[in-house]
């Protein structure tokens, strides 16, 4: 499909969070720590980014999408810094790199019907001239992701199932035909039967349209299913990478091994024999409760 190679280059990206509370103490949270890799669309492929919650996967996705400027390091698209793009280049970048987010409900503004997300894409990226032309594009894309337009159009987000909502996002991607899809935990809130359908579409997009997907997940079995390359992320850094078939079959890094040995196998005859090593000093979750916003009643 692609005439020339498109390339996203992530180099030495580090991101630290300085919350209002963190700033006071000079403390910081290093979400992403000196990560470098590149994505290209020739040949198109699926690159898995796996890791447990808090490993920095989602922050990395937001950084690549241009939503969160990294503290250090750079993201370039075909050699141009994503955070210094202007006008035409910015448009080109957004046309080429599009997201699928985790929460299929939060993607839709509850105030509007589902259609709006698709129409916005048509208008903002000039995908069609006029209404009937646009409707045709929308219907074609919905069918491409196994949705019947009449089931989806004219509905409010809460009237659709999670699987339908997430597939509407895929339809949006289908319309825009980006070179890269940044999919941040797209199936974590879907049921198994629907999840497979979603993954199949993602695989088809690679094969039919030559799209490259950065597939972020915490579920190792889904990354094995989609195949391709894999990067294992732990505490903000990439600890192991390579082909899915190598890394998930013969893991080298102890963290990858630990992850793999923890995945329950869907076979009653292959149960765990040994007891898991119970980690006593589990990382504690830190919670900062904001002071509630309240007023004294009457004077």
């Amino acid at each position: 499909m692609a005439d020339s190679e498109n390339r996203i280059e992530v180099s030495h990206v580090t991101h630290e969070f300085h919350g209002a509370a963190l700033r006071a103490t000079g403390g910081k949270l290093v979400a992403v720590n000196d990560v470098s890799f590149s994505l290209t669309d020739s040949p198109p492929q699926i690159v898995n980014l796996v890791g447990q919650s808090g490993s920095g996967k989602s922050t990395l996705a937001r950084i690549i999408l241009g939503l969160q400027k990294p503290t250090r390091g750079s993201v370039t698209f075909n050699g141009k810094d994503v955070y210094r793009l202007g006008g035409r280049d910015k448009e080109e970048y957004l046309r080429s790199v599009q997201p699928v987010f985790q929460d299929p409900y939060g993607i839709f503004n509850p105030f509007y019907k589902v259609d709006r997300v698709l129409w916005k894409a048509i208008k903002k990226f000039h995908l069609a001239k006029g209404r009937s032309d646009g409707l045709e594009v929308i219907e074609r894309s919905l069918r491409a992701v196994d949705l019947r337009p009449e089931d989806v159009l004219g509905r409010y987000p809460h009237q659709l199932s999670g699987g339908q909502r997430q597939r509407v996002m895929l339809a949006r991607v289908h319309m825009l035909q980006p070179r890269f899809i940044i999919a941040d935990e797209p199936v974590s809130m879907l049921d198994a039967a629907v999840r497979v359908l979603f993954l199949n579409i993602l695989i088809d997009f690679r094969d039919k349209y030559g799209m490259t997907t950065l597939f972020i997940t915490h579920d190792l079995s889904t990354s094995y299913y989609v195949g391709g390359d894999i990067m294992v992320m732990h505490k903000g850094g990439i600890v192991e990478s390579g082909k899915v078939d190598d890394v998930l079959v013969n893991p080298e890094h102890p963290y990858t091994r630990m992850l793999l040995s923890s995945v329950p196998v869907p076979d009653p005859d292959a149960r765990w024999k040994d007891r898991a090593q119970v980690v006593l000093a589990e990382e504690e979750e830190e919670l900062v409760v904001d002071k509630p916003d309240i007023e004294a009643p009457n004077p």
Binding site: L67, G106, I107, P110
Partner: protein, 292 residues
């Protein structure tokens, strides 16, 4: 625009409380706007508000539906005029404080960073300056305050509260996935604020406006009840002040006392109905738990 009308219609048909509240307010607003012709009709061509237009201290009768006051003015005409003034003050104050509050809230909440700290800090400073003493001082020393000027002064001390409540809402909305999706869909900041954030905050803004209007009206009435308000415009508070000062209750001249209190009571009744209606429609968590 059609979408907007439809959501308004949805809101309207969602709650009877909301409907009743709106109808009462609408009636009051119409009366206030038409207060000139209404007063003229009451006076049958002459000014019912002129001193000694009628015999003083009349109880309700055919000519004076609510009777007359100490100076022989028609109490119904006074009430209609007072309502118009009170609503005008409330509208000016409510409008200014809501517009300023919303602007500050959206700029601070959406942009964040240093600008947010600066604007929120300013709002906090304004929040701790007590408004009632300032208002009393002003009305004591600045003679001939116009209705609009009173409204502006009330707004200076009430925008900060609106700004703070709406800002916290903006903060919670701005990291929603649909806002992020809008960003990668090439929507500008202004488009995102207007199309993605504002619609979801309309109920908050609406309630904030209604409360600011009501709050301003009652702040002014409070001042006037103790005789410290501006005394150059007839509003409902000034009527109450007269009613107390002239000892109308001991004289048995109840309309002078009852009329303004009734109108004020209906006003806050209506605004509260709207509040409760919106609360029920827009707070699904509350609705779910309450099973209402």
């Amino acid at each position: 625009m059609r979408r907007f009308a439809r959501s308004l219609w949805k809101l309207w048909s969602s709650s009877h409380k909301f409907q009743i509240g709106i109808v009462i307010i609408a009636v009051f607003v119409v009366v206030a706007i038409l207060h000139g012709p209404i007063v003229a009709t009451i006076g049958h061509g002459q000014d019912p508000l002129g001193t000694a237009a009628y015999t003083p201290w009349q109880l309700p009768s055919r000519t004076n539906i609510l009777g007359t006051d100490r100076y022989g003015r028609d109490i119904l005409a006074l009430t209609v005029t007072g309502l118009a003034s009170s609503l005008q003050v409330g509208a000016v104050a409510g409008l200014i404080s809501t517009v300023v509050g919303v602007l500050v809230a959206f700029i601070a909440g959406y942009k964040g960073g240093k600008l947010d700290s600066l604007l929120s800090g300013t709002a906090d400073v304004f929040l701790v300056v007590p408004s009632l003493p300032i208002l009393i001082t002003l009305s004591a020393y600045v003679t001939n305050l116009s209705l609009a000027a009173i409204g502006v002064i009330l707004a200076i001390f009430s925008w900060a509260l609106a700004a703070r409540t709406i800002r916290s809402q903006v903060l919670s909305l701005r990291t929603r996935p649909y806002v992020e999706l809008a960003k990668v869909s090439r929507m500008s900041d202004l488009e995102i604020i207007v199309q993605e954030l504002v619609p979801n905050l309309l109920p908050f803004i609406g309630v904030g406006f209604a409360n600011a209007v009501l709050g301003s009206i009652f702040a002014l009435v409070g001042l006037e009840v103790i005789g410290l308000g501006p005394s150059n415009v007839i509003d409902l508070g000034l009527m109450l002040n007269w009613a107390i000062g002239w000892g109308t209750l001991s004289l048995g001249m109840w309309p002078m006392f009852v009329a303004p209190i009734f109108v004020l009571g209906m006003l806050f009744f209506a605004v509260n109905l709207i509040n409760i209606g919106l609360e029920e429609t827009y707070n699904p968590r509350l609705r779910k738990v309450a099973g209402a």
